[in-house]
């Protein structure tokens, strides 16, 4: 007989979970495994709220395993380490992102690309090696294999640094992979939300010229005055699009709604690259002419491997890059989800787990 979430493991844990596709979260008693030889136990301080949490809580992708405790932008303090753990000790500030496991043997894993491992294990709503369900960071503690734990730099604030664990690596990885780090090149960032605002910050830190492309004219001042973008392009204004044709080396497309690719492709120079990191729930229309006539490409990227995530955190520490956040209490999470669905946040909610999550 299957054990209940509370009895499944020996150590009591507490969090907030969604029980069905309404996506409404409420207090949830469950349990975590014993700290194994390779494991690290983490008392959670903060957890960022990613749009994926919302998609999953509402079963919008069709594979949610209820009850689900979301949260994969976790920052906390080490409280216990297994005997094989060398990288961490009690008291260390650490982070956990989108993955808590992978096969560790395939070509992708061997190349530090655990995120592309066909058997990678997500931090929540997935099945761990021991057959039990994974529960995420909207909880008081988590037990993670040391390979999937990151050193969280001391000079990065744990609250505004938490979103880097998913949003940060999601834009950092393609920017490195597709060569968007050459100073002087021109980067377009489509969409100014949780992903987009960090892409602007990374772009400026890499020495790129950055243009924000958005359908909301109200974001112009934000983009330029607060985030330091060089220019702002209103995607619904054909004259502005026309003036910028063939000017961009790359575009990071963070938009998750279905949207036309044709105007974005036209903004690219010869050999330009449009990299999508948003997840529209329907296919997009791809016109072939602009692809062929400019040798342009459309690519995708999915968060990043562990080594690269650590590199990204260290880069952020060096350049003082954090997310712009709105700190919330655990009990405000359902309101936060409603606001997130309308993109009413600048630019990431972060749950103050330590101070607001109580049984």
């Amino acid at each position: 007989m299957t054990k209940s979430p509370e009895e499944e493991h020996p150590r009591k844990a507490f969090g907030w979970a969604a029980r069905d596709s309404s996506g409404i979260l409420s207090p949830f008693n469950f349990s975590r495994r014993e700290n194994g030889d390779d494991d690290v136990t983490i008392k959670i301080l903060y957890c960022g709220v990613c749009h994926s949490d919302l998609h999953c809580a509402k079963n919008e992708w069709g594979f949610t395993n209820y009850p689900v405790v979301p949260g994969h932008e976790i920052v906390g303090i080490v409280t216990k380490t297994g005997k094989n753990v060398t990288k961490f000790k009690e008291g260390d500030q650490v982070g956990v992102g989108v993955l808590v496991g992978s096969c560790r043997k395939c070509e992708c894993c061997q190349q530090d690309l655990e995120n592309y491992c066909p058997r990678c294990i997500f931090t929540y709503s997935a099945t761990y090696h021991d057959g039990t369900k994974t529960y995420g960071g909207y909880s008081n503690m988590v037990v993670v294999d040391q390979h999937f734990v990151l050193q969280f730099p001391d000079n990065l604030p744990p609250d505004s640094g938490a979103p880097l664990l998913c949003a940060g690596i999601t834009v950092y990885s393609p920017m490195k992979y597709y060569g968007m780090t050459e100073p002087g090149k021109h980067l377009g960032v489509a969409g100014l939300g949780g992903l987009g605002h960090i892409a602007v910050k990374f772009g400026k830190a890499f020495g790129l010229k950055v243009t924000v492309i958005s359908s909301s004219p109200s974001k112009k001042n934000e983009a330029i005055d607060r985030l330091g973008a060089d220019a702002f392009l209103l995607s619904s204004d054909p004259a502005q699009i026309k003036a910028a044709l063939g000017t961009m080396d790359f575009i990071i497309d963070t938009v998750s709604a279905v949207h036309p690719l044709a105007p974005l492709l036209a903004l690219l120079k010869l050999n330009g690259k449009l990299i999508t990191v948003g997840l529209p729930n329907k296919p997009l229309e791809l016109p072939i002419f602009p692809l062929a006539m400019g040798r342009r490409l459309v690519g995708g990227s999915n968060f990043g491997g562990l080594k690269e995530t650590q590199e990204m955190l260290d880069f952020c520490a060096n350049h003082n890059i954090t997310s712009d956040i709105e700190l919330i209490r655990m009990e405000d999470i359902n309101t936060a989800y409603e606001r997130l669905a309308k993109s009413d946040v600048r630019y990431r909610f972060v749950i103050d787990v330590e101070n607001s999550l109580s049984q």
């Binding site: 999508t276 016109p287 692809l291 006539m293």
Partner: protein
């Protein structure tokens, strides 16, 4: 060049042209420019028929200038050169492809990517620098700027080489540019026609393992026995496609009809590349999830630059790569166009211009 009366000096030429969007071709007397100081004039011996010729004679892209002499896969023998021509001499075997001009000064041209120059001049039905309309290879002679003429090594048979000037470079360029030319890689070729069969030959010569993906099971023997492909997938066979998932480093998609990209993206390994060289006239559906989950890309290319075209010809000469062709006389050309619409050719028609294009007395 003008004579003392201020009239342009030209030379007489003869070819077959479409007069209107019916696309029907018939004889036409016309003129070409006199051989300029950088020009090469050659007697056209063979000219391949590309699907683009069909689109152009029927004005399917809305930009045809009539009368329209098609043909941009032409080969022949040099009969005259301008006094500043350095690379070629009379008697050389040469070819001209899809372009006869570009701006020569932009970044793109300077980087040997004339094919992507905003002012690239196509070989047919376009305005040349001197304001005249360009005329293609269904004609007895051709005059072209040396820069846009490639030399054909002696060991290549001219008739079977002519399709390389467009079809050949169209598939060679993406294999090289996207790094799909490394021995041991697994490359998929979608569509086995004029482009596809050459893609198989080039990819095999580069040392890759090649799988042909086609809707027609009847093409399997051709693909494997004749063209040397290593395996064959029927794209409508879900079991076959499923078994081949995540096995390919790259795919060259030559299909010009609208078709589904999802199963092709599924065939790619992580970080694989799907490159489209066919020209569907409507947008395709791009499923984003599978692109993200494997960090895969979808790209497109258009022919190749002149330096690369010469490199492709030399590679073909070294590896004995030519097109599989059906040689036809010029007066069969309208029937050939009708058969081309139905894909009824293995795999390229080539007009025997040298022996069959005669102007009436």
């Amino acid at each position: 060049m003008v004579n003392s009366d201020g009239k342009q000096i030209t030379k007489k030429a003869f070819g077959w042209a479409a007069r209107d969007s019916s696309g029907v071709l018939s004889p036409l007397h016309f003129s070409r420019r006199e051989t300029g100081e950088k020009d090469v004039t050659f007697k056209v011996l063979y000219c391949g028929i590309c699907h683009t010729d069909l689109h152009m004679v029927k004005n399917e892209w809305g930009m045809s200038l009539y009368p329209l002499i098609p043909g941009h896969e032409m080969v022949g023998e040099v009969i005259e050169i301008g006094n500043k021509v350095q690379k070629l001499k009379v008697g050389d075997k040469v070819g001209v492809g899809y372009m006869v001009g570009s701006c020569n000064s932009c970044d793109t041209c300077v980087n040997d990517l004339e094919n992507y120059c905003a002012k690239m001049i196509p070989t047919c039905s376009a305005k040349y620098h001197d304001g005249t309309t360009t005329c293609g290879g269904f004609s007895d002679i051709m005059v072209a700027d040396e820069h846009f003429v490639v030399k054909i090594p002696n060991n290549l048979p001219l008739d079977a080489t002519s399709p390389l000037l467009c079809a050949g470079i169209t598939v060679y360029s993406p294999l090289k540019h996207f790094g799909l030319d490394k021995p041991g890689m697994h490359i998929g070729i979608v569509g086995l026609g004029g482009l596809g069969h050459l893609a198989v030959k080039f990819a095999k010569a580069m040392g890759t393992k090649v799988t042909v993906i086609s809707t027609s099971p009847t093409k399997k023997d051709e693909a494997i026995e004749h063209l040397g492909a290593d395996s064959f997938l029927v794209s409508r066979d879900q079991d076959q496609m499923h078994a081949a998932m995540s096995t390919m480093d790259g795919i060259i998609d030559t299909v010009s009809a609208v078709h589904s990209l999802l199963p092709l993206i599924g065939l790619l390994k992580s970080q694989g590349k799907l490159i489209l060289v066919g020209a569907p006239d409507k947008p395709l559906e791009l499923p984003v999830f599978p692109l993200l989950l494997g960090r895969k890309i979808v790209g497109g290319t258009c022919i190749g630059g002149m330096k690369e075209t010469q490199e492709m010809i030399d590679f073909a000469a070294k590896h004995n790569i030519t097109s599989q062709i059906e040689v036809i006389p010029i007066d069969y050309v309208n029937t050939a166009m009708e058969r081309l619409v139905k894909g009824d050719v293995r795999y390229r028609f080539v007009v025997d211009i040298g022996n069959t294009l005669m102007s009436s007395p």
